[in-house]
């Protein structure tokens, strides 16, 4: 059943190429159906027994082992939901091919978050790059594929580091079937030297993927050039893979190394936090504003991951899901704006609120969630993380981290007001407001944003595991 989360969308994605190219609507709704099925399967599969097949015996043991629970469960839900909403909300030329790629992406990313074996994890890690790369090539604006190659080379370098680290871990430890084992497993067996190199490999892969400053320069271009539904899913979920990696994979396996890297990660996270917010303040392209805001927000989760504080980690779990919800929502709504107005530049837009009030309302909610309005999901994550950071003794990082929160209000409102407020502009198309189906696509995201903001309890309590050396990790359910 859990394996179906991976197999079903990949099979459906490949099968979609059998559907005639012209059957665009069929393809779209088939895709929506599969994504929704994944959502249902995830709900039913939460906490079910793991599924495992023997794979390798030499040079180390590796199993095709998948499981669902804890943080992984919430991310898989988020993934299915955001794919579903993005496919319903937006239209794309060559729809059949696009939906097929989205389903492949859905399957590959599910694989990352259900994997219970490091090698399976690494395999899906690289696999999830391919649909994104193909979409960047096939739907490149002005047929410029430089962004696609940049994305691939940068992320494959990270993936390669991760793969080498996995191999090294397998050789040293004898087994890679270890994700979700209790904290500190293997801490004694791995020597300091091997441990450091293995951690470095993982960390490089995770930092590039998230991305964390200064490994972020591939991201704004990628987010700007990807078609809106794809960037919604990539920013919502793919960007969480690295943080999930730190929180779930390396924290229990390599606690000493995590601890040793704390200062470095705090510096990188803090710099990214402030840097991203400042750059977002001056961008003209709305998608780039959101891209840099992601750099800023994800820096905060990185701080939480290395804080070793249970409250901060509970906040990290909440914020991972929260950021997924509002960044998916933001990119979907920006896509809807671009579909109508044929631009997403702040300097070209204005006064849309008058003619498209529903669109304005939708963008408003997403923007408010993103800037951390109390009562919506972003705030719940932020306050828990920062409370935990302060409790962990990181007084100055906490104080510094409040600055980007103020800046977020400025850049997010700037985006909104340039789009929606001011006198209506004559030089942009006057298009109809959101259709009912487009509203319907946003409704689940809005409901989730409010629910998680008011009552983040279920996500926050999905499991924090304390380990030796004051390293804390997030649980993904018991291994069964």
């Amino acid at each position: 059943m859990i394996a179906a989360l991976v197999v079903l969308p990949i099979a459906a994605g490949l099968a979609l190429y059998l559907v005639p190219r012209s059957a665009e609507l069929t393809a779209k709704w088939l895709g929506v159906l599969v994504a929704f099925a994944c959502f249902v399967i995830a709900v039913l599969g939460n906490g079910q027994p793991d599924e495992s097949l023997r794979w390798l015996q030499r040079p180390f043991t590796a199993n095709l082992h998948v499981g669902l629970g804890g943080l992984g469960y919430w991310i898989v839900l988020l993934l299915a939901l955001s794919t579903c909403c993005a496919l319903v909300a937006l239209r794309i030329p060559r729809q059949r091919d696009f939906v097929a790629q989205m389903l492949l992406l859905l399957g590959a990313m599910s694989g990352v978050f259900v994997a219970r074996d490091l090698l399976v994890f690494a395999l899906f890690w690289d696999l999830m790059l391919i649909p994104v790369f193909l979409m960047l090539v096939a739907w490149a604006p002005r047929r410029n594929t430089a962004t696609a190659w940049r994305y691939l080379v940068y992320n494959l370098s990270g993936g390669l580091a991760l793969l080498l680290a996995t191999a090294a871990y397998g050789v040293v430890e004898g087994s890679t079937d270890v994700i979700g084992l209790s904290v500190g497993h293997g801490a004694t067996a791995i020597g300091a030297v091997w441990g450091t190199w293995i951690f470095a490999g993982y960390a490089f892969g995770f930092l590039v993927k998230t991305p964390v400053w200064p490994f972020h320069t591939w991201m704004p271009d990628t987010y700007a050039d990807l078609p809106p539904p794809a960037v919604a899913v990539v920013s919502a979920v793919q960007s969480k893979a690295g943080l999930y990696g730190f929180l779930v994979v390396t924290a229990p396996l390599l606690p000493d190394q995590m601890r040793a890297a704390t200062t470095l990660m705090f510096v990188l996270g803090l710099v990214g936090l402030v840097y991203g917010a400042l750059v977002a303040l001056v961008q003209d392209d709305a998608k780039r504003i959101v891209a840099y805001s992601s750099l800023s927000h994800l820096g905060l989760i990185l701080l939480a991951a290395f804080s070793g504080n249970p409250v901060a980690l509970a906040g990290a779990a909440v914020y991972i899901v929260a950021h997924g919800l509002f960044s998916a929502g933001l990119f979907i709504v920006l896509g809807q704006v671009e579909e109508r107005e044929e631009t997403r530049l702040l300097s070209r837009l204005g006064g849309l609120g008058e003619i498209e009030p529903k669109l304005a309302g939708a963008l408003h909610i997403m923007v408010l969630a993103a800037l951390g309005l109390p009562g919506l999901c972003g705030f719940a994550g932020e306050i828990l993380i920062l409370t935990g950071l302060y409790q962990a003794g990181a007084v100055w990082p906490t104080a510094i981290a409040l600055v980007p929160i103020i800046l977020a209000a400025a850049y997010m409102l700037r985006l909104f007001q340039h789009f929606m407020h001011g006198p209506p502009r004559e030089d942009i198309p006057q298009r109809p407001d959101l259709r009912p189906v487009e509203l319907l696509a946003l409704a689940p995201l809005v409901v989730a944003i409010v629910l998680l903001g008011v009552y983040p309890g279920p996500v926050a309590n999905s499991g924090v595991v304390a380990g030796p050396n004051a390293v804390v990790s997030l649980a993904i359910g018991a291994r069964r």
Partner: protein, 640 residues
């Protein structure tokens, strides 16, 4: 859950339900949205009275809602303090809602307006009813949001949009301060609930308490327009006048007063925090009053007077004279709402003209507005026996009693200035001849954009008149609650008894009151001499032009607070952001990345004779390598 608890939940959620309803069905509802919206505030007002008995009982009325994680529990708490605020929010708020039906009658977006107003009431109730800091913070943020919505209600006006943005961002600064307070208190006590935190207040390290108090007060300063975070309030007058009355006068801006009073156990153990907050409050009172002298826009005068009066309240609760500060909130809510609503009648009748210089002689044309404004002015300047007299004296004497004679003195001087600028407004607006037809240039008004007047049909006059008339009563009598010591007894359980300072024993309260009255008389006389006397009204046009042209620059620029914030924070942030975007990202970071790629390419060229010269070639090699690596392990697995 007890009946009382259900009633409390109902009165809290009713405005929210109404806001959602109106928002969803707005186009269908049109003006009936106003009736629904008003009902959704007045019914909670009635329900609050039902709960008064249990709120005044020991410990108040508590309702637990849910927990996020350990230490983050959420609930409602109705005690004397929150009861008072709830009554004002729903009572004065309800009247303003009714008034707004008339004010917004011909606005196309009247339904949206009432949805926002109801949402504000819900947010404000959340703020005062919460039993913990995080719930408070949620209310704190949401009132800021409602304020932002309503300041920018006419979002086609660029000035309104800019004002809304400024208000929101400055309020987020305050939110951040309050968040920091949560961190400090949670780290020290392991909880965010008031009860837990205050129970441990006396045992905390003084430095911790001071830090928490400063952080809390940053929140208060932003929300309650205390210097230097006050600059958003005058600009917030871009919103419709009922908004100014409800949010930017009677309720939201007093949230800081509420919070300092709520956190009395913290302030009680930190003398430094007391001195700091009292001083900021007194300075704000003074600065607001001075800036009030230099304004021509009737709403901006009222905005600066609000800032100044909240300065008094903050001074009161800051120095520990909690009952006095709260009393001033109580009386101020009535007379300031009344002043704004009366100003709204004037503005409405003049088709959105807000400049004093274009008014004059309106006393005969609009008797209700004139009398409302007169009573409001008498109340705010502290003329006995109007309500402001009791509360302002209580604050000034309270500061003296608590051992802050200097702050008390500032309060006395400010009272005189207040009398001057309020009477100036009153005289210039209502006395003499009407100047509506005098060209702008002759009055010294700089060129300005005229918004298009909307000559829609009007509501019956009583819709706007009745709330103003009703408010006149408490504007006069609200201060009388001090007689018999009932007011102080109401909060006896919340606040520690006051220590008498040596000065207070020498100077009796009546003497201080007389001194204040002397300053007030001086202010009224000066204003009368310049604007109210027969000579002044006859030569009003020349006098106003001369004054407009000769206004001192520091006053025109509002003591340069805006310029300073702009130069210190806004411009540097943009400059650094631009530098990162134009230089660091493309040249520094990507420069290194390119070097690494170049190095890889160079190694490739050296090692392999075969080179394609294309990046994609290297990427392909990399991909193939990874694939081969995987295939190798897969094959091993298969051969097992």
């Amino acid at each position: 859950m007890s009946n009382d608890a259900l009633v409390l939940l109902a009165l809290w959620l009713l405005p929210l339900a109404s806001a959602i309803l109106i928002f969803a069905f707005g186009p269908m509802l049109r003006r009936s949205a106003g009736v629904i919206g008003s009902g959704a505030v007045l019914v909670p007002f009635a329900l609050t009275w039902v709960l008064a008995a249990s709120a005044l009982g020991t410990g108040g009325l508590k309702v637990h809602l849910f927990d996020w994680i350990a230490g983050f529990s959420f609930g409602l708490w109705l005690d004397p303090l929150s009861l008072l605020w709830t009554l004002i929010i729903t009572g004065v708020g309800g009247l303003i809602h009714v008034y707004a039906i008339g004010y917004m009658w011909s606005d196309r977006a009247i339904a949206r307006f009432f949805a926002y107003m109801n949402f504000f009431v819900f947010a404000m109730l959340t703020l005062v009813l919460s039993d913990n800091f995080v719930g408070l913070l949620v209310g704190w943020g949401l009132v800021g949001l409602a304020s932002y919505f309503l300041i920018g209600f006419w979002f086609f006006k660029p000035s309104a949009v800019a004002a809304a943005m400024k208000a929101f961002v400055i309020n987020v600064v305050g939110d951040a301060g309050l968040m920091f307070a949560v961190f400090v208190l949670f780290a020290a006590t392991g909880s965010t609930a008031y009860a837990d935190v205050f129970a441990k207040a006396a045992t905390l390290a003084p430095a911790t308490v001071l830090l928490a108090c400063i952080a809390i007060f940053i929140g208060c300063a932003a929300k309650s327009a205390q210097i230097p975070l006050h600059t958003w309030l005058p600009d917030a007058m871009e919103g419709p006048t009922p908004v100014s009355a409800l949010i930017h006068a009677a309720t939201m801006v007093t949230a800081g007063v509420y919070l300092v009073a709520r956190c009395a156990p913290l302030w009680d153990v930190s003398p430094e925090a007391r001195a700091l907050v009292g001083t900021i409050g007194a300075l704000t009172a003074l600065v607001g009053a001075i800036l009030g002298i230099a304004q021509w826009d009737i709403k901006r005068i009222l905005a600066y007077s609000t800032m100044s009066q909240i300065g008094y309240m903050i001074m009161g609760v800051g120095v520990g004279a909690y009952q006095a500060g709260i009393l001033h909130f109580f009386t101020h809510a009535f007379f300031k709402a009344q002043l704004f609503l009366a100003a709204g009648i004037v503005i409405h009748a003049l088709h959105d003209e807000q400049d004093l210089r274009k008014m004059g002689g309106l006393g005969k044309k609009m008797p209700l507005a004139f009398w409302a404004m007169t009573i409001g002015t008498l109340a705010i300047i502290g003329f006995p026996p109007f309500s402001g007299f009791f509360s302002k004296d209580a604050v000034i004497y309270g500061a003296l009693e608590r051992g802050y004679p200097l702050l008390s003195l500032i309060g006395v001087v400010t009272a005189g200035i207040t009398a001057y600028y309020m009477c100036r407004m009153l005289f210039v607006t209502f006395l003499g001849n009407n100047r509506g037809n005098v060209p702008d240039v002759d009055l010294g008004i700089p060129a300005r954009e005229h918004s298009e007047p909307h000559f829609g049909e009007s509501a019956p006059a009583w819709v706007m008149g009745a709330p103003v008339a009703i408010l006149m009563v408490p504007s006069v009598v609200a201060g009388w609650v001090v007689f018999g010591g009932r007011w102080n007894a109401l909060f006896a359980s919340d606040f520690a008894p006051k220590p008498e300072s040596a000065l207070a024993t020498v100077l009796p309260e009546w003497l201080v009151g007389v001194v204040v009255l002397a300053f007030v008389a001086w202010g009224v006389a000066a204003a009368y001499h310049r604007y109210g006397s027969f000579d002044a009204t006859v030569s009003a046009v020349e006098r106003l032009r001369a004054e407009s042209q000769r206004m001192a620059q520091p006053l025109v620029r509002a003591f340069y607070f805006d310029d300073a914030l702009e130069a210190l924070f806004v411009r540097p942030a943009r400059a650094v952001g631009s530098a990162f975007m134009r230089v660091v990202d493309p040249h520094v970071i990507d420069g290194v990345v390119r070097d690494v790629v170049w190095l890889a390419g160079w190694i490739g060229r050296e090692v392999r004779a075969l080179q394609t010269g294309l990046v994609r070639g290297y990427a392909l090699v990399l991909a193939l390598g990874a694939a081969a690596f995987l295939a190798y392990f897969a094959l091993i697995g298969a051969s097992r």
